[in-house]
Amino acid sequence: MGTIIELKNVTYDYLTGNKPFRALDGISFQIKKGEYLALIGPNGSGKSSLARHLNALLVPTSGEVWVDGLHTAQEEHHWEIRRRVGMVFQNPDNQIVATTVEEDVAFGLENIGVETEQIGPRVRAALEQVGLWHFRQHAPHLLSGGQKQRLAIAGVLAMLPQCLVLDEPTAMLDPRGRSEVMATIWQMNRRMGITVVQITHYLEEILEADRVLVMDRGRIVRSGKPQEIFTGDIELEQFGLEIPTIPKLIRLLRTGGLKISPQALNVHDLVDSLEESHPS
């Protein structure tokens, strides 16, 4: 698999007053095409700043970000970068621009100058993918939180992106909305092969991610498969993160001396693994 985004020693300073605050401190990593990458860490650890570097909303103070062969420091590439790397934000209300669902999906296409005849079919395809086609004439404020986030995802999808960056997309949703949105994101990743970068506080959402990065104070402190991150020897609690129940249980059982497969991460795996190593 090729690389779609590459960060080389990225540093970013915020100016608050006259004192610069280092939000990102020497970050280097690569995102592979088609990967599902989760980004976790406490508040203020630089997750959002990092996400905004992925589509050139922010440009590094020093270091380089390459998106699909385009350097984000070059302003003439910004629009192409933003078309290829779509972004969904936390607050579902504050990213919907138009007064009807279909017009909102069309917004991005209109911005990049897609011909009028092509906009309709692309809007339809995007809305069908997220299951909102029959809501196309609705006013956005009449949608539920989960539907609004799916609308935001459709707005990005219509632009045929290669990568989708989601900054805590489920933080303001109820459990139902959350599972709706997560199902949509997984579908984008697994079925359409779109690279996904998701920031989240709910670690149970990303048990099946391909890779997890843990951030703290502007640095990447851990990187690995969810199994390694959640059931390994790292104390995620020290970063203010709460490990989901099953991984926590697996870890406790392991410290208690039981042998559990290193691949186990859900109830099913756990039971299988226990039956295998401890036949009754």
């Binding site: 589509n55 909303l57 629009w79 933003r82 078309r83 779509g86 972004m87 934000f89 607050n91 209300d93 504050n94 990213q95 919907i96 621009v97 138009a98 007064t99 009807t100 279909e102 017009e103 069309a106 917004f107 991005g108 296409l109 209109e110 911005n111 990049i112 100058g113 897609v114 011909e115 009028t116 906009i119 309709g120 809007v123 006013a139 956005p140 404020h141 707005g155 990005v156 632009m159």
Partner: protein, 264 residues
Amino acid sequence: MRSITLGHYLPGDSLLHRMDPRIKLLSLFILIAALFLIKTFLGFAIFCVFVLIVFFNAGLPWRYFLRGLKPIFYIVFFTITLHFLFTKGGRVYWHWGPLTVEEAGIYMGSFMTIRLVLLVITTLLITLTTSPIAFADGIEFLLRPFRRLGVPGHEIAMMMTIALRFIPTLMEEGVKIRNAQMARGADFETGNVFLRARSLVPLLVPLFISAFRRADELALAMEARCYRGGENRTKMRQLEATPLDYWGLVAVAGFTLALVCCGA
């Protein structure tokens, strides 16, 4: 949450509803100009018949007609009173001390009132039958020639759209803040006008702060979706005027010209 109708648009499928918004706006300008050029009551009568025919052809109910006039009630009232009492000339019909009602006053008062009412009804005709979005599109197009003079047509239309999008959201939030403040003992209902106005401060301050935060986030989201102003932007729905639209415009222009030229 009560629903809000903006510009009191009444969805429908009449000829007027389907008319191109640009043509409708142009017609509106022509008709308003006509109202200021008409000099006789006969002219107004003809104009009124024309407007009423269009009004009922568009399937608009009577009560909207009256509801639209409600906001200008006081203006009409003052126009009539001031003209009746202070415009002098001609026969004196009534007097009480220094106050007199004279012929010229009655004439001017009625004339101005009719003009005002017709102005509102004509405008109502357009706003009732045009969706706010079509309206914004129409304005954007009509302001295009003035771009060189620095008139930001696209930006005005975009502002209208965003305002329309966020009014329900902010209304909902306003209700929430109001309830939250009432739960803490805020009182919005008692006291005189000034006290009540002052009690709105704890409602408006959080609402404004939140609106600014929203604006900030929305700007970022728009930028992330490649928004860069009106240049090279395409449209999902292209406005297309049909021959019927042009004939409508010609009819309006012809009617106005005839009315004004015949000295009405």
